[in-house]
Point group: none
Chain length 422, copies 2
């Protein structure tokens, strides 16, 4: 059998998905697993609990894919149609498997519950299919070759059951088939302070590479480059990825801040720890979000000492020493107040550095001169009078987005300052 | 035009989805929205950044659906293929729209960034299509009838952009078409401080209803009941939902805190505003997360004044007046320190109430007597010496979960206190 032609399709069955009542995490799990196993995967389909539409989806999938992976529709209720629809489609009778029935009965007994007649349905398996055991719940799946060159796996929709069945039975089965071509292994490089298109042009030559491939993505205020290698092992993939990632980092320079799950808070923390320096924050419109992001990093107590949430102007005056006249004359959202907040919190906490944020997060509170999205970031550091402030106009992009961009830009300012002095 | 025949298909474009690198939250959002608008939605397809496969997916979708909603593939890079693939498929040229180009240029200018030549691509629109404006990012979508009885909408993959465009332009457009049939309208009731099975037993009779249906869900530390009605209008659906929701709220009592997008911070804010009272926070292990949640509510400045992030013990002593001997003898994670933090921040900020949080978020820092997941919450209020503290053992459930549960339980303690005094 040529291995090149086996590609997988994930078919998620359930009206609840089409109503948006649940998020399709199964499709993501299976996608990750197929990539890990090196099995190509080009399509995903979601269809409701409807015999006709499910049959049509199966007909299309058979034409374009040779491994069909179903999730959902294996339960005991009349809504659960996957197994009988597949048997109908391939014109094969359903057989009640006594071993499966006994297993279901035992599981009910062990939980001290009565097995209901509707659970009998879960023991019906298309003739010729093998049982894909369910170690967690009652509904088993199937492994079935209804015709040469076509393989079907079915799983319940409950993620914990599906994942246990996948790991215990499906993975060994798939590995034994030799369908795995190359593993696709990826590393994500993260950038702040550069637009997607500018970065893409800077690294244009790399976007044409074939192995590894390099692809840009826009995130929440940031840009990412995904470097994906096809290889027969993780080590080989990393050998392909590493030199390219290094060249990309060199090209991007200071705009590169971390990889994979790194945040700007991780990047700042690593730099502070290396320098044995400390940080405090003074937050107005972000209300604690900067501190929260910093302390999401385990071990952040080594460099982050804390700060003041000065949401109300009295707190700015009383706890941070912001000048009341400046507040009145320049307003809370101003360069001078951002600077005084940074100076105040740094002095009071005795840290090396401090960051402050004051702005109009919206949706209310904007004026002609201080529109929603206007944010000032203050940065104070060692050295007499060393304080700076930075003005941003993020626009009316939603309260949470303005707050998020404020937090990230504050961290990025400190990151650049720390790098410029190393 | 008969309205019965219009059904929607969501087509998610992006290799990153097929590699499992991102979760397809867009598909869920659109599914919810289509249900809300009463537009039938029978299929979802996910396909990679590949012209041929995308064309095949379009061909299939045209056969079975009359409203195709695309997300992804509108960016400036060569990977972004949706617009040109659609134009190719329907054999229509792409036209550079000068108004779109100008809008993109202005957005770059406003952010002080250089527009790159590759962004020009985002101004290309199939001949005959209308622009679906993007108020957030640079890439607009399209609204297009490439042939009679077939409508195409395209959106970028970035959720914040897609959602803004959906709300501002797509929803009014779809509503004006009269495609909505039977609406499925849901309301979610939210509960804190009661387990899923206990609540399910309390409301057992309601779980058998047929219209509206009532279904329990477990959330992050909370339980929800979704009440869903089928009707021909939102008003009719709400008439079905309201009496049932009221009975459920009555049955649950104080454990009910809000509905739909309400958070515990919204519930607390509503109570404080009604009483014209104010709140301050002192946060250790949550590092600002409580303040952030409180200030995520627009208008929270009416009752939330701010607080102190006392991550380091020196900050607890210097800014909150926590007794250094108590800190040494009892440790930072103790009843007495939680109480002193609450008293300290309330006195310094002059608010009616204060909340404090101190705990071991993990994964490191746990000991035999103070394990990971041990958290104390302090609550101080008006009246001489009125301070309480509450001990929680959340267990080693991951740093973010321990911090989340700490934040929510702190808010819930204040919510119950405010309700008990009304």
């Amino acid at each position: 059998m040529t291995t090149a032609s086996v590609s997988a399709e994930v078919i998620s069955v359930g009206t609840e998905l089409l109503l948006g009542e649940i998020l399709n995490t199964n499709a993501q799990f299976l996608a990750q697993e197929l990539a890990r196993l090196g099995i190509p995967h080009y399509y995903q389909t979601t269809v409701g609990d409807n015999v006709l539409r499910l049959q049509k989806a199966v007909a299309i999938a058979c034409e374009r894919s040779r491994l069909l992976i179903f999730t959902g529709g294996l339960g005991p209720t009349p809504d659960d149609l996957t197994t009988e629809t597949l048997a109908d489609f391939f014109e094969v009778p359903l057989i009640e498997r006594s071993d499966v029935l006994e297993d279901i009965a035992q599981k009910f007994a062990r939980r001290g519950r009565q097995m209901s007649p509707s659970n009998r349905k879960q023991a019906l398996i298309p003739q010729g299919a093998e049982v894909l055991p369910n170690p967690v719940g009652t509904a088993p799946g199937i492994i079935w070759q209804p015709r040469p060159g076509l393989t079907i796996l079915t799983f319940p929709g409950v993620p914990s059951e599906m994942q246990a069945m996948w790991q215990q039975t499906a993975v060994p089965f798939l590995e034994s088939q030799g369908w795995g071509q190359e593993i696709i292994y990826s590393r994500t490089l993260r950038f702040w302070g550069i637009g997607e298109s500018v970065l893409a042009e800077k690294v244009a030559a790399f976007l044409k590479l074939e192995n590894p491939t390099v692809a840009p993505y826009a995130g929440k205020g940031e840009v990412r480059l995904r470097v994906s290698a096809k290889a027969t092992s993780e080590a080989e993939a990393l050998n392909l990825i590493h030199p390219v990632a290094q060249q990309l980092r060199d090209l991007a320079g200071i705009d590169y801040y971390g990889e994979d799950e790194d945040t700007l808070a991780v990047a700042v923390g690593t730099l502070l720890k290396a320098k044995q320096q400390t940080l405090a924050v003074a937050e107005s419109c972000t209300g604690g979000g900067l501190g929260q992001l910093l302390t999401a990093v385990s071990g952040s107590s080594a460099y982050f000492w804390g700060g003041v949430i000065s949401y109300d102007n009295h707190v700015k005056i009383n706890l941070l020493g912001v000048n009341a006249d400046d507040l009145t004359q320049q307003g809370a959202v101003s360069d001078i107040v951002a600077q005084q907040m940074a100076i105040g919190v740094r002095e009071r906490l005795g840290t090396t550095w401090s960051l402050s944020i004051t702005g109009v997060a919206g949706p209310d509170g904007g004026t002609a001169t201080k529109p929603v999205g206007l944010v000032y970031i203050g940065l104070a550091g060692p050295g007499a009078g060393q304080v700076e402030s930075f003005r941003y106009e993020f626009g009316d992009r939603g309260r949470e987005m303005v707050r998020w961009l404020s937090t990230c830009n504050a961290l990025d300012r400190l990151r650049r300052r720390l790098l410029s002095r190393s």
